[in-house]
């Protein structure tokens, strides 16, 4: 299974400037583990204490993973995953 993952500018230093990469995993959690094994360090930018970082948004197709079970969200062949940093501040 190969899932296309779109990488935001701020994380492209991890992916040698690739805007999209292929990763594997039947759940979001597994996908992040796989991404981190290909691009060491990227996992820490997505997770904090084992949970999704509050100001990183991850989408499976068009849906925010927070509405799909978070790290338990299921991923199937043909899905695409998009990572975007929140645009937020004080």
């Amino acid at each position: 299974m190969s899932i296309e993952v779109r990488i935001p500018t701020i994380l492209r230093p991890f992916t040698k400037d690739q805007t999209a990469v292929a990763a594997d995993g039947a759940s979001l959690s597994a996908l992040i583990t796989n991404l981190d094994s290909q691009f060491p360090g990227i996992g820490d930018r997505l997770l904090e204490n084992g949970a999704l970082r509050r100001f990183i948004n991850i989408y499976i197709n068009d849906e925010d993973v927070r509405f799909l079970g978070g790290l338990d969200a299921q991923i199937i062949d043909g899905d695409s995953v998009t990572i975007l940093p929140a645009v937020a501040g004080g």
């Binding site: 100001f55 925010d64 645009v87 501040g89 004080g90």
Partner: protein, 138 residues
């Protein structure tokens, strides 16, 4: 580095900050990819509806990035207002700044300086804030 921006966009951002007061307002200016030109202003909803915080709604954020990709554009400016403090990035602005290529524009509508307005621009990269000149064109 400096930000070149039209008077019309400056006025529109200032107007939006007044309309949405006391909440912070926010939005982006887009431009053709690679051009760095601030060409198309798009006001965004502050999903936090707060005088001390702003956040693009996650659904709007995805739609924005899709639109930018489809139109071969990039995000040139990310702006928001401060309603009670100066137009300088707050600690949270710095912590969450996720677009190293964007100009971060801050507008302050705090009462002490009314009816004047502060309009300033910064780069925020890896936690480092660098103010830049703003050139307003007619």
């Amino acid at each position: 580095m400096s930000l070149i921006i039209s008077r019309a966009f400056v006025d529109a951002i200032v107007e939006q900050s007044r309309t949405e007061y006391p909440d912070e307002c926010c939005g982006v200016i887009l431009g053709p990819v690679g051009s760095g030109k601030a060409s198309r202003l798009k006001a965004m909803v502050n999903a936090a509806h707060s005088p001390t915080f702003y956040e693009f709604d996650p659904k709007d954020l995805l739609a924005l990035y899709r639109e930018v990709d489809e139109q071969d554009e990039e995000i040139v400016v990310i702006y928001h207002s401060h309603t009670e403090t100066e137009a300088y990035p707050s600690r949270t602005d710095i912590a969450y700044a996720g677009e190293p290529g964007a100009h971060y524009v801050l507008v302050s509508s705090r009462k002490e300086i009314a009816p004047a307005i502060e309009f300033r621009s910064y780069r925020i990269i890896d936690g480092v804030v660098t103010e830049e000149e703003v050139s307003i064109t007619d």
